[in-house]
Amino acid sequence: MATTGDPSLARAGVSGTAPECSTEVPGTLVLHLPSDIGAIEDAVERAVEFCAPAVEDRNRLLFNLRVGLTEAISNAVLFGSVDDPRKKRVRVELRIRPGQVRARVSDEGGGFDPAAVPDPRRPENIAKASGRGIFLMRALMDDVRYNDAGNAVTLVLRGAPGPASPTPSVFPDEADARPASTQPATPAAPHHTREERALDAVSREMQLAHDLQMKLLPPIPRVRGVEAAARVVPAESVGGDFYQVLQLPGGRTGVMIGDVSGHGFPAALIMALVMSAAAISAQQGGAPATVLEHLDRAIGDELESTEMYLSLCYCVLSPGAPEVVYANAGHPHAFIVEPEGTARRLRATDPPMGIGGAPFRESRAKWAPGDDLLLLFTDGLSDTVARRGRKSGEDLVLKTVARSHRESAVEILDRLFEMSAQSVPLIPADDRTAVVVRAE
């Protein structure tokens, strides 16, 4: 688009029809739209048309502003009213002055809880598809801010005053494109405490989801030579964390952890599907990548239709074998912790399910039977222990495990969850989940 003609400029009707909503204040336009996917494009085009005089750089108008607004309005439409479909209105307020556009997109839902989202700057989170919408917004706009309730976002685009540059920079440098603070970058599940009216229905749903999540989590099987412990402490707003420790043919042990991007009942349903499909596939003795492929086939459609994503790491330990075989679809926290405390990360072999897909890759990591610990946990745990001034809670989790390495798996978990209970978290709690396995 930078070099060729502008086929989309004509479509946008930048100098075409005036917007239907008249402006009461000069330089201000307010659009109200129904919470309907079909209404998004028209609203974006009206907004772009209105903002055109303020943004001389065509690329920033036709690409940055369009994508940024589309993401903001999509989020409002898709997530802003799920707790009560009757409350479906989205409001877009645009204010322009020379060289600057300010757009505020608000919905009548309970809002996002942006702070419940892990820090997107971490490399392992960049590929998390649940963050792509807000990530793109932040990459393309000059400023992105949420209100406290999390149901309104304000976007600012500066219009590169002066003649449009022939090679305008659509994106800032990648380092700058990431949020500079612990700001959110992934759409979180709707927050459901703000609107009293919705509380009853929501808390019923949460209770159901909570019950489902807890019922599904299986007991840890007793396997000779294997000491395993796992725990989920669900947040008030139930997430979709889960784990499985499976006894496999040939005396092998399968260890799985997963985190569904959404919250509430839909996430719990995805989790239910994953757990049953995973157990079947794993117990047929499938290699880790094969198990992930089966899972992807089983839940891919469901993930797509619900716009959810799933990080999942599946490890297989064989008795006496000097290696762990694993496949890791975008799960950030999977480690082998050596007795002297060195932690080796089991890096993601693929993006999360719902963003990537088959074929899945597999990897192997050195493993000292009887000595090393396999440690898997979710963002909820490391985020709760994160303290101001520290890069991440992950270091604290790893240090705690290193210090208690000689204790039993259950005791190690106790220490982790004690620590997380004592912390004053920087961000509201998500599900906290950890699995510790030692095997001969």
């Binding site: 079909g38 494009e41 036709l62 369009r66 994508v67 990530f135 992807d296 993006p351 963003i355």
Partner: protein, 109 residues
Amino acid sequence: MSFRERTVGRVTVYDVDGQLIVGNRHELKRMVLDALEGGARRFVIDFSRTGYIDSSGLGVLITLSKEIRAQGGDLRLASLNRDLTRLFELTKLDTFFRICDDLGEALEE
């Protein structure tokens, strides 16, 4: 109509006119999946007339790529302009797709 389907040799080519976003992505998905069901295996989506793609547009391309691969087929993306190329790079989806400079390259065996 945002999408035009045509056949070049054994390759089914889609032109995306304007944008691929949350409001029209299912239309493209339906067209491609119908062709896949009808036996087509080689697909090219041409973006030379595309202004912008949003995150859900990226999502539908991922879905299609997976479906096509599952049937032993091949999907290539062609003629991404500079903005769109950066979009794929930034989201690291440039590693997920086969991206060709132009339609000619995409049509090569």
